[in-house]
Symmetry: C2
Subunit: 317 residues, 2 copies
């Protein structure tokens, strides 16, 4: 197979960056090193790679830090700015790790992170139903209500652990910096873009772009990006080996090679849980909307095999 | 004059981003809008622009937030990661503002921020003499000494206002992501790079790149970047109209057009104060090391005139 110039978008889940109890920069950079060792062979094989990473735990910690002090001189920054900050820190860790790994293999591809704005629709239904918990827990309802009254936060009780702000998770539509991604990928650079799903922005005719306090599912953003660069493959790397039929039941079964319509029928059968596997499958199907496109859902530890199409759930048109 | 394809590096000082008492994202984005209105005409005129911004007040506030909570689950991130975060937030504000301003002029250039690592020399003398105060004030010497003992911070008393961490400010040597900057600028994109002077990294033969807790003078980084892309002009925008002779004295006099060797003689005469104008003049001279190169030191409000060479201190070879 001629791999050169084949374009691949890789969506990296949280486990590619931060494991439980390992939130320090040092720990996250060590995990980034492991991730880089998984991905570097793909660059060596001639694939052109764009990486879209999640940012759940990282932006969560940024928000907790920001909320810890909120004065005129040292104000808390809003969530859109925090997402941009997380693109900075995570992108830095990943690009440093991958640059090092490529240099060890005597490859000189530049690895670079682009701060990326993602257009969303202000009329997206998600804005009517904020659902993603973010930031610190408020121990009492009263404290939560103060945040609600003074900051306009929507707060909800979180499974008995206290109260917490919830934000909308709208669908990504378009990448504002799309031309830069295309130019760089065509030049042979490894691009890290749309981190955390991208900084959510909407557009008005008169005033242009505005950030909005929301978070975007990074797998859907990876699907948008893969479509944008007309990638050959979208690889969604996560903590499990594949999508499963009858997950958690005695007759649980891994889904291997499958076509689009069959996978859609599994969604109709409610085979995938809405909080975890369902959005990955939906993002995969969103990308695989024409012949020649493949989406793979596989575990991070097997990135290279996933790209070669021998492992995980492999969805064809 | 044929302006098309002329390459300009613009170094934006702190006043281009944050004014005293206006630290909120909303305020900083409004100032970014003003800055964008200054810079958009240059793009319209066909100049290819790379923007290097400072990050002093912004990374200061990020560090204060990070230091406010430091637990296993929510650890403080080190300064190199904080610089990357500031590249994310400031870059996002600037690229959004400039994208909007260009679209109003019906220009479709992509504006994009690159997370940028800047190589420094681990043997730079600056590491022996940390001098840049950063982060929160420690009210008592005892509190400062605890940070010193537990975190390895170098702390100094800051003009009677309490104790504070100081970090080194090494000279920038090389931009790790240089190829991406070149590719993008050649494509017509407006590039924001080396924000805050870049994330300081050093390199070891065996292990590759390592972040280091330091801050880099953004004017020197802009000079490195301008040399890298063989820019025609380096424009250092600041809060004053020009470099001055006999600054603050009755015979104070603006320096207009001047050649490199004359400007060097003024440095030898100690005409410029080490904390403010001297590094700008030194950065300008570092760039103007061959015929055809010009560096301008001017006020942000007159960016367009500064580029046209009619205002500010204009240093030729």
């Amino acid at each position: 197979m001629e791999k050169t110039n084949k374009r691949i978008v890789i969506a990296l889940g949280g486990n590619a960056l931060q494991r439980k109890g390992e939130a320090s920069a040092e720990s996250q950079q060590k995990i980034a090193d492991e991730t880089a060792r998984q991905l570097a062979p793909l660059v060596m094989d001639g694939y052109r790679i764009v990486i879209v990473h999640g940012n759940g735990p990282q932006v969560g910690n940024i928000v907790i830090h920001e909320e810890a002090i909120n004065t005129d001189d040292v104000p808390s920054l809003p969530l859109d700015s925090c997402v941009a900050m997380s693109q900075g820190s995570i992108g830095y860790w990943l690009q440093q790790a991958l640059t090092d790994e490529l240099r060890k293999k005597e490859l000189d591809n530049t690895v670079v992170t682009l701060i990326t704005q993602m257009l969303v629709d202000k009329n997206d239904m998600a804005f009517k139903n904020p659902s993603k918990p973010i930031g610190p827990f408020y121990v009492t309802k009263e404290k939560a209500m103060i945040q609600s009254a003074t900051r306009g936060f929507v707060v909800k009780e979180d499974a008995g652990r206290g109260w917490r702000r919830v934000v909308p998770s709208p669908k990504p539509i378009e990448i504002i910096e799309k031309d830069a991604i295309k130019v760089l990928i065509n030049s042979g650079a490894v691009v890290i873009a749309a981190g955390g799903g991208g900084v959510p922005v909407f557009m008005t005719k008169d005033e242009g772009l505005h950030g909005i306090e929301a978070v975007i599912d990074k797998d859907f953003s990876a699907a948008v990006l893969a479509d944008l660069i007309d990638a050959n493959k979208l690889i969604i790397l996560t903590s499990v080996d594949a999508a499963m039929l009858n997950y958690g039941k005695p007759n649980q079964q891994m889904i291997g090679k499958i076509d689009r319509s069959k996978m859609q029928s599994y969604i109709a059968d409610a085979q995938f849980s809405s909080g975890s596997m369902l959005p990955k499958v939906q993002a995969a199907l969103q990308f695989v909307n024409k012949p020649g496109r493949t989406a793979v859902i596989a575990s991070l530890e097997k990135a290279a095999e996933a790209v070669d199409g021998n492992i995980g759930t492999i969805i064809h048109f």
